[in-house]
Amino acid sequence: MPRRTVAPYLLLAPSAVFLLMLFGWPVVSGVLQAFGYGSTLGFTSSYWQRMADDPRFWESVRNTLLLILVLLPVQFCLAIGMALLLRARLRFSGGYFYLWAVPLAVSDLAAGLVWLSIFTDRGYLNSMLAWFGADGVDWLNYQSPTRMLLAVVLAELWRSTSLVLVIVVSGMQLLPRDYDEAAQVLGATPWQRLRHVTLPLLKPSLQVALILRTILAFQAFAVAQALTGRQFPLLIGETYEWYVNLSDPNVASAVAVVVLAISMVTAVIYLRTLRSPEAEARR
């Protein structure tokens, strides 16, 4: 194989140009736009002011953070449990894997609509309650943020756990079984094996899944819109609102930059905190 050629650069060039034009440039100009570049006002922080003055913005920040804080721990426990069940090689595990992976190809809008059929006033959940003689509950009432949060969390749990599952399962496949067997021979309980053998070995996969899921969780919005209309604002939903309904691209960009900044910061924090013990162990 030729050592030094221009061939790889020629092969890469189209994608690099494409990404710079349609990815690099828009990101930069989006950040500039949030500071008023290209508007009549010139360089300004007034769009940030307008964004911060909107009470819905703070509500959406609170909702987004709450959603992530409630969703992610539950989701990771569930996904790890599912992966362990698949590793146990039950009968029909191929079928289980298929059914558990299906939501991977479902959008958050679709997930919202699916769960709307369950949570809506005369939906399937209340129907089932009625069959058992219980009173229906107004699940998506705007006066009860807790119930709305619950509905959104369940819908997101249903939709996005498959991604964690797939990452964890593929990570588990790479683990040598020896360690687990050794621990078993030495008399470790299943819990000890999980806690001290499997989970530490899975850390790289878990880290990737955690970063990816957090970034994606900040991007969820259609699920809440489908379930609650505008009653349960999420950050990206606000961007959409500012852009489409209020026709203010600058403020919309400001909100988008907030999402961008939070995503980046959380990714860095995860990389730092999760990597340090591992690096120490290696020393």
Binding site: P14, A16, L19, V27, L85, L90, A105, A110, S253
Partner: protein, 298 residues
């Protein structure tokens, strides 16, 4: 099975020493654990499958059934009227949106493959300066929120005369799909042995001929899997599609925009139509899912 331990019948020879009792507890515990595992697996499956069943049921229920309360969770009044009205009545704009979605999906697939596959081949086959930087750049693209792109691009496309066309949406979806396409095709090309390619070169193929006649046939299934993935990504993308278009909506964008004014039964039908392809995609992709995430995450 009776009792914890069973004493084996004394040997017929009448030898005095009975065998020690067989400890069946581990076996029973194993059975118990297995049963519990099955139970939990079934519960999880119920959680994952029931929503899909229920939305299907809702989409195939008649209007009268959907207005009834309490609803039955079994098919009581099956009809395709709701779905037909959702898909065909001109007021909902669903059929053109469906066509747009398909053409955007296929366009995205073609563009990202044309641009991404050569890059994937380069990443797989050549060591060159800047390779790590390029891969880092790809990773960055994967992790940024779409919305940061969508808004500046909207004004860009407005100036370029591409606003509210499927081309604009295809371009943005291709950007989103490109990193994954490059990484998946790279992992596919890595799996094709270099020896075969070199053998073809030795026997007088040109570099391109070797690629076309040897590498491509072997890489095709993996490339197909990556295309399905791209299509799914485009099919599910909502925000950019909604921001970049007004009339020429893709299906999810159309459903999102008409969310507030459409009746519940159309929302259910929309949910069903959006979920349906997922069942097929994952069925096709089952074998590749693990390889894909295993290879793309590193």
């Amino acid at each position: 099975m009776t009792g914890d331990t069973v004493t084996r019948a004394p040997a017929r020879t009448g030898a005095a020493r009975p065998l020690p009792p067989v400890d069946r507890r581990p076996l029973r515990r194993l059975r118990l654990v297995r049963t519990a595992q099955h139970l939990v697996a079934i519960l999880i499956t119920l959680f994952m499958a029931a929503p899909i069943y229920l939305i299907t049921l809702a989409a195939f229920s008649s209007r009268a059934e959907l207005n009834r309360f309490p609803k039955a969770v079994w098919p009581r009044d099956v009809s395709i009227d709701t779905l037909r009205a959702f898909l065909l009545s001109p007021g909902t704009g669903v059929l053109p949106a469906l066509v747009n979605s398909l053409s955007v999906g296929i366009g995205t697939l073609v563009v990202s493959l044309l641009i991404g596959a050569p890059a994937g081949y380069a990443v797989a086959r050549y060591g060159f300066r800047g390779r790590d930087a390029y891969q880092l750049f790809l990773l960055l693209t994967r992790s940024l929120p779409v919305v940061v792109l969508a808004i500046p691009l909207a004004s860009f496309f407005l100036n370029a005369g591409l606003y509210d066309t499927t081309y604009a949406v295809v371009l943005v979806h291709s950007v989103l799909a490109l990193p994954t396409t490059v990484l998946i095709t790279a992992s596919v090309f890595v799996a094709v042995p270099v020896d075969l390619e070199e053998a073809a070169l030795v026997f007088g193929c040109t570099r391109f001929g070797a690629f076309r006649q040897v590498v491509l046939p072997m890489a095709l299934p993996g490339v197909a899997a990556s295309s399905i993935f791209t299509f799914v990504l485009s099919w599910n993308e909502i925000l950019a599609a909604a921001v970049l278009t007004l009339e020429v909506r893709t299906l999810p964008a159309q459903v999102l925009v008409s969310l507030s004014e459409s009746p519940l039964r159309y929302q259910f039908a929309g949910g069903f139509v959006l979920v349906l392809p997922a069942l097929l995609f994952i069925l096709l992709m089952r074998r590749y899912l693990l390889n894909m995430w295993g290879s793309t995450i590193r």
